[in-house]
Amino acid sequence: MSNATVNRAIDLLFKYTGIFCTLSALVILAIFLINIVSEGLSRIDWQFISSLPSRKAERAGILTAWTGTVWILSLTAIISIPFGVSAGIYLEEYGRKNRLASIVEVNIANLAGVPSIIYGLLGLEIFVRILNFGGSLLAGSFTLALLILPIIIVATREALKAVPKTLREASYGIGATKWQTIWYQVLPAASGGILTGIILALSRAVGETAPLIVIGALAYVPFVPTNPMDEFTVMPMQIFNWISRPQHEFLVNGAAAIIILLLITFIMNGIAIYLRNKWQKKINW
């Protein structure tokens, strides 16, 4: 065999390896979803969604879990969005070259890589103990808000970066101040991108379990939370609780709850991807 034939054979071999690896990712995802749906789908009914937790698997439901998730989602959004977007604006529009900005930038890169469970330890000490929130919705939301802050900041910066200079110059040209330019021109133009980033960050918060376990969120909460100081559980906590039990009936409950959690995650991601595509099309300035 000549050298060229060997090389071509290697080339072909790699091509098929590549196809194989890529497709196996798809196959694993498929096995995964089929397994969960076949285990859990038949368990989902109105009773499952509207029932309180119970020691008996067939009577247990996810009412407290999903209401807790909705609470956590809203509170986390309220806390993290203003801070995250403001920090992003500062870094991109004001502090490009100064020292504070460069420290903050290294810091954000580092924070994005800190394991989520460490945020749990931070929340346990600061929010649960020192600020005395206890294992409440508020403590959980603050903890998750800190966790997703770096994601929101980075997304805000990327979106602002994509807004062309000409827009800013036109605004300055008619006498607007820097803040007026940002508020009336740049932010609206970047809003699609920022919103995409926020939704992705929040969908990450919805799926988090570890930090909430550490701050002391309970697996068994027999009531629906009505204010931010109430104790709570969330969907992933409920799932974790069910699948750590040996009885198969609870595993089925876990699978059913996973279907609902995945539905929430996929819908949020779907909205984010839709917004991103729409925004990218619009942004051909």
């Binding site: 990712a25 920090a87 870094l91 903050v104 330890l121 799926g207 959690l261």
Partner: protein, 293 residues
Amino acid sequence: MNRKTTEKIIEGGLALCGALTILVTLGIIWVLFSESVNFFSEVSIVDFLTDPEWTPLFTQKHYGILPLLSGTLLTTAIAIGTAMPVGLIIAVYLSEYAHKKFRSRVKPVMEILAAIPTVVYGFFALTVVTPFLQSFIPGVSTFNALSAGLVMGVMIVPMISSLSEDALFAVPKSLREAAYGMGSTRFQTSFKVIVPAASSGILVSIILAVGRAIGETMVVAIAAGQQPTLTFDPRQSVETITAYIVQVSLGDVQHGSLEYNTIFAAGITLFIVTFILNHISYWIKKRFQEKYE
């Protein structure tokens, strides 16, 4: 108030929000450090680093971090051993071989894999992968490092493949054209020209993936077990640093007790390792970023 003052106030407010992120880091360091000091005032740091047993929740107490470290190392090694080759092959294939349309179809699937909550991966490891492994490997226990590591690997593949693909894609076209012009095959072009040119970006993706695997909690807490044993046998049950923190948090441990402080000592070990990895990757990124611009 005149315009100038308003502008200054707004800028100050925004800067404060930026500075808040520094406060978060300082907060983490302060919390971990102050609670660990309490721990190390009762347990010597030599014992902590060399004692081969970790049994703070038993009557016969030992505080050696080694079993937790070995558990973390084992699951991380299995995860990276799976994710690195697969992730890189996918990255090279998508960037250098695949049709544009195929790429744009595969990318969303990778994003879905990356968006799935980790507790769900834990379920997958426990109910699908472990029984599958047990069917052909003798001696695999219900909770084991192998299953957790493999599933963690699947979880990390999208991270390596998408970050590496970005790095490969950023290599200028002229390099490819030059290589093809010399009569190289796609394989030769990819692995002798493009991959070396993108090596810093690829390295960053791997370091970040290692950090992610070390810090991953739910998959190992669900599927790897809660038995701190100093072993490198992947069929056995192990406990990672993160799984230990979960175990203590789920139990009823009094604030201020030595058991309570152990999770901060475990936490600071975890934080130091990931902190170093993050800074290495940031440095590489900054150092080699502008090579082709």
